[in-house]
Amino acid sequence: MKIAVCVSHVPDTATRVKVGSDAKAIDPAGITYVINPYDEYAVEEALKTKEKFGDDSEVVVISLGGDSSKETIRKALAMGVDSGVLLKDDNPRDSIGVAKALAEEIKAVGAELVFFGKQSVDYDNSITGQLTAELLNYSCISVVVDFKINGSKITAEREIEGGREVVQTELPAIITCQKGLNEPRYASLKGIMSAKKKTIEEKPAADSEQMSEVIKMHMPQPKQPGRIIGEDSSAVQELVKLLREEAKVI
């Protein structure tokens, strides 16, 4: 079986964000980029599925972005993915634009099962997997924390408010992965060495009309620091009074 995993190259979550001079995106100066944390669960699940299906199956990693996205592709290759594709685009695009380019490539590769992270931690869109599924007319289960596949039948659990839904569907399908699904493996030294020899195919990402437009990026209103009302439980009465009478939240 052909399995694809779609990954995104994003600023590390410890990044302090500054708005760039165009006021449309962040200032990239001094930022460390990493594989999107949720995409690591996607890579792991793709590799586990490949191991289950055996030798005639194959995993390809696909990423859309600039040259630097190759670092994230290499990371997936080092974990054990077989080959990589970089859909080159140096300009920002909206989720639908990303999904259209990914859908074309997934079709070209012929992948029947595709894993995504449930959301990227930059634009926090959490919809690229679902959009891609709809473009390909694939089934889709999002925010998955448990995944089982038997032949072409899939049973997965997805996180919802206050619980989980157990969902059934069939291939072809897209699964978006949530923390808790698995423990992503570390790349071994051998994996890192062999990743250097694996091919990354580069091609321009398919053109797409942008449907949404960022007018302005800005910082949230900074929260005014409040006050420390005490250093032990003798401050509790005062706290409860403030919550009742000033904040009126209890």
Binding site: V121, C140, I141, V214, I215, P220, V249
Partner: protein, 322 residues
């Protein structure tokens, strides 16, 4: 004929969720601002409180009904909603940004060739076109976004837009449309509920614990305070990664971004990933023995003391007033 806005509402177990009424109210507001005709759309089997929709500003209610759609089906709901939106030539669709909304809205937007903005925390149509504000980087920054497509799909973050019932409710006009043979290619066969727990994403009050709790065996102190407040229990990434608490409770950049009325941080120092996920809470209380912890920079009220001494007293004091 005026252009149309559809509020797509979520029911669970035959009851509309609170976030559904928030969606109704925002749709009704946009309808006024942009001279649209508003309709509320509910997918599912029997829905007990469907009449309540009109209390929040929309009289026209369409119930896309089939008992096989009582539980969510990604394929079934996508077809039902998209077909209805095409049939009525709707220009705007508004959903709540819940697990269901986030799954459904993007699929519908592709079917309708509509642009899609998700997780909006502010909607402004004063310029005659809709400009939505949404957080990015887990709330470290915000973007103002507009859609250039003819059809538009948006989702709004639950708990941000409060639903306030009208003084004089409208007279509901409910149209039931039976959905014959829904597409159940993807279907929910079981819903596993976490017993009696309130989810952090939906809670109005959250009591969160961090590494300062020193171990999973001490979290009963957090749970007891949450209990007396009717609050959800949250957790920092450190304690989730250590296996003390489940990921469903994690607040922050790789967990949930929350905006409750009151957030009580217990033994949480306030790493940037955590602050990003909760700093838009209306009121923040921090209890932490390190008075230099970053959490105090954003807390409205702080107690720089021993969590194990302060928490039980706080729980007792709140019990007294409840």
């Amino acid at each position: 004929m005026a252009a149309k806005i559809l509020a797509i509402l979520e029911q669970r177990d035959g009851l509309l969720k609170r976030s559904a009424f928030e969606t109704v109210q925002q749709a009704s507001q946009l309808a006024k601002d942009l001279s649209l005709e508003a309709e509320a759309v509910v997918v599912g089997g029997d829905v007990e409180n469907i009449n309540e929709i009109s209390n929040y500003g929309i009289a026209k209610i369409v119930h896309l009904k089939n008992s096989d759609l009582s539980n969510y089906s990604s394929s079934g709901y996508t077809s039902a909603v998209s077909d209805y939106a095409k049939e009525t030539d709707a220009d705007y669709l508004i959903f709540s940004n819940t697990a269901l909304g986030k799954d459904l809205a993007p699929r519908v937007s592709i079917r309708l060739s509509a642009g899609c903005i998700i997780d909006c925390i502010k909607l402004d149509s004063s310029s005659g076109e809709l400009v939505a504000t949404r957080p990015v980087y887990a709330g470290k920054a915000l973007v103002d976004v507009k859609l250039n497509s003819a059809k538009k799909v948006i989702t709004i973050r639950p708990n941000v837009f409060k639903a306030v019932p009208l003084d004089t409710p409208l007279n509901p006009e409910i149209e039931v449309k039976e959905i014959s043979s829904p597409d159940l290619k993807t279907k929910v066969i079981e819903v596993k509920k976490s017993e009696g727990k309130i989810d952090v994403a939906e809670a109005d009050i959250i009591v969160s614990g961090g590494r300062g709790m020193k171990g999973p065996e001490n979290f009963h102190l957090v749970e007891e305070l949450a209990d007396v407040l009717g609050a959800a229990v949250g957790a920092s990434r450190a304690v989730v990664d250590a296996g003390w608490r489940s990921h469903g409770e994690q607040v922050g950049q790789t967990g949930k971004t929350v905006s409750p009325s009151l957030y009580i941080a217990c033994g949480i120092s306030g790493a940037i990933q955590h602050l990003a996920g909760m700093s838009s809470s209306k009121y923040i209380v921090a209890i932490n023995k390190d008075k230099d912890a970053p959490i105090f920079n954003i807390a409205d009220y702080g107690i720089a003391g021993d969590i194990f001494e302060v928490l039980p007293v706080l729980t007792e004091e709140i019990k007294k007033i409840k």
